[in-house]
């Protein structure tokens, strides 16, 4: 790592759900850092624990049944896990803000956009209502909502999906957070709208210089906006690297599988290389490497040994026994 003090540092995070049917190890040992102003992408298949990671950071894990059983989440040097709910409420918003996947359901349908914007501002900033309203207008302008003066009075259902996502982003930005977590902010949107939103993200990042954690399952999105990427599989990181590096020199069989299974718009069509099998049931993970059952390069040792994450290159970490010998293990 190049910078000295990361904005966010997640260490060996384990978030489990204790359900009747068994313990769901949704997040099972994750480490990553986010530096100020940088964009980190987290990719993985559905159910791999991306959202739960984000929710853990914000302290929003529904409990019961969920519980953070181990780990540290250091934000600006303080461990968020030691904070009370009350303290966390002060951090959410002004320090860490979040944009959720589905703009259709993430805004409260019975309140106007104005109320939902203002209440965030008023909750954290020492402002009069009038000032807050000015700020709200400014924000709506910033995220590109035309005629914000009038639109403020509207209810969410009077907005289209893209517009709602803009409102969500405005809300997230309203208290100038130093970290923005975006959980699949474009998945529910159409391509043309997705392009608009991604463009907005890029602009925001440039203008406001905040760190972003971009959660997605679309490698395309990652490659467009992220500086670095973490690939997750079954609650664990599989690979972690600089984005360009990953697409060029990705090492983990799962990462490679992901990249190869996506059809590419290139003139010469090749057969897709699919990853066999299905993602594992998080309640009963196989012994050894959780990807082993689907891995093309599976070795006997994979079925019994769960590999540690290792740095195989500068700032490039892989969790695979194939690379057991490369460089050093990251201590956890």
């Amino acid at each position: 790592m190049t910078q000295d003090t990361p904005l966010l540092e997640v260490k060996n995070l384990h978030t489990h759900f204790f359900t009747k049917a068994g313990v769901v190890k949704a997040v099972d040992g994750i480490d990553f850092k986010v530096n100020p102003g940088e964009t980190l992408g987290i990719v993985g298949e559905s159910g791999s624990g991306k959202s739960i990671t984000a929710m853990s950071i914000l302290g929003l894990i529904p409990s019961p049944p969920g519980k953070i059983v181990e780990g540290e989440i250091n934000f600006k040097g303080e461990n968020l896990l030691n904070k009370s709910q009350k303290q966390m409420r002060k951090i959410r918003g002004p320090e860490i803000a979040m944009v959720f996947q589905d703009p259709m359901t993430s805004l409260n349908p019975v309140f106007t956009v104005e109320k939902q914007l203002l209440e965030t501002i008023l909750a954290h900033e020492n402002m009069s209502k009038k000032q807050a309203k000015e700020r709200a207008l400014e924000l709506l302008n910033l995220v590109g909502i035309p005629d914000p003066e009038n639109r403020l009075k509207n209810y969410p259902h009077e907005f289209s999906g893209g517009m709602r996502q803009r409102v969500m982003i405005a809300i997230a930005l309203s208290c100038n957070p130093s970290l923005l977590i975006a959980d699949e902010p474009t998945t529910a949107l159409d391509v043309t709208i997705q392009a608009q939103i991604l463009e907005l993200f890029k602009r925001m990042q440039k203008e406001l210089n905040m760190a972003i954690v971009m959660i997605t399952h679309d490698l395309g999105v990652v490659s467009e906006v992220c500086d670095r990427v973490m690939v997750m599989y079954a609650g664990k990181p599989a690979e972690f690297s600089e984005t360009k590096h990953l697409f060029k020199k990705g090492k983990h069989p799962y990462t490679l599988g992901l990249i190869n299974s996506i059809p590419k718009i290139t003139p010469d069509k090749q057969k897709l290389e699919a990853i066999d099998g299905v993602p594992p049931d998080l309640r009963s993970l196989p012994n050894g490497c959780s990807f082993a059952p689907r891995c093309k390069h599976v070795m006997d040792s994979c079925l019994s040994n769960d590999p540690d994450i290792r740095e195989v290159d500068d700032d490039h970490f892989v969790r695979c026994l194939l690379y057991e010998d490369s460089k050093k293990a990251v201590t956890t």
């Binding site: 699919a274 066999d276 299905v278 059952p293």
Partner: protein, 304 residues
């Protein structure tokens, strides 16, 4: 066939994964296992079973005649070893009457809910499946019925049909129709919109087949839940009617009627009122508990 079977997924792997899931394969089996796991619905089930067993073996369980008194001098005896729940205004054994009353309760539940269910499912099914003007007509009729508070409508029906248990059951059955019709209709509507119904049409299934094989089986869960809960309501309503003297006539040991007859002695012999009421309460509670459990067990959202 020249193509190799697709190599995915590895059958052994799939096998291994599936053994983790519960073995029973049908939805009903699943539901059953879920009910058995829920303590409250198990209690409900037990109460219902006790009720049924009591009804079947009433003559063996009862210690006295349910309708005849031994001597009028035995009136209003407080609970004792001879009459474990005491005696009523005629000196009849309350326990035995309650035991035999279970038969009437079951009868009410089955007949009244039978009426509501058969007519309600039919109306709701037709309205939901065929839609358009048939739906309009049926639903307006249902709306009209729903405009009357149900107990009141039942009272009015009994008033014109004549006060007896049979008519009370019919009345309670009739006022239960709208509930079923609406539930079935909305279930049919939502099932009708699913892709597997479209798939059935796409493979050329006829109306009858679609309705019987695809639509109705998938509406069964809400119907069964509603039926279970309705039995409780029906027993409650019929007891209310009997309490008002519009249902079971003497000397039938109907619980509501027993309670009503015991009112005069509330101050001196509260047990005459207390026990039949408790019986009603417990049985209705049983059906409600079980119905709640069933609803949870059959709730598609809770699956997976």
């Amino acid at each position: 066939m020249s193509l190799q079977p697709n190599p995915l997924p590895d059958p052994k792997l799939a096998e291994a994964q599936e053994t983790n899931q519960s073995k029973s394969s049908s939805l009903w089996g699943d539901a059953f296992s879920r009910i058995v796991k829920s303590k409250t619905s198990l209690i409900g089930l037990c109460i219902i079973l006790i009720l049924i067993i009591t009804a079947i073996f009433a003559p063996l369980i009862a210690t006295h005649s349910p309708t005849d008194y031994a001597s009028l001098t035995d009136r209003y005896q407080s609970p004792s070893s001879e009459h474990i729940l005491g005696t009523d205004e005629l000196g009849r054994d309350i326990f035995s009457r309650i035991v035999f009353g279970s038969r009437i309760s079951i009868q009410i539940g089955v007949i009244a809910v039978g009426i509501s269910m058969i007519i309600g499912v039919l109306l709701g099914g037709i309205a939901g499946y065929f839609g358009r003007w048939i739906d309009q007509i049926i639903m307006r009729l249902i709306d009209i019925m729903m405009a009357f508070p149900s107990i009141l409508l039942a009272i009015a029906l009994v008033a014109v049909l004549g006060p007896n248990l049979r008519n009370a059951m019919i009345a309670v059955g009739i006022v239960g129709i709208p509930q079923f019709a609406r539930i079935v209709r909305s279930a049919v509507l939502s099932v009708k919109e699913t892709e597997y119904i479209e798939a059935a049409r796409a493979i050329g299934a006829k109306h009858g087949r679609t309705l019987m094989q695809h639509v109705l089986p998938n509406c069964l869960a809400p119907i069964i839940v509603q039926a279970t809960l309705s039995i409780g309501t029906a027993i409650l309503d019929a007891a209310g009617l009997s309490f008002l003297g519009l249902g079971a006539q003497p000397p039938k040991p109907e619980w509501g009627a027993m309670l009503s007859d015991g009112r005069a002695a509330l101050q001196n012999a509260p047990w005459v009122v207390a026990f039949p009421g408790m019986a009603i309460f417990l049985v209705v509670l049983g059906f409600n508990l079980f119905g709640d459990g069933l609803r949870d067990a059959l709730d598609p959202r809770l699956k997976q």
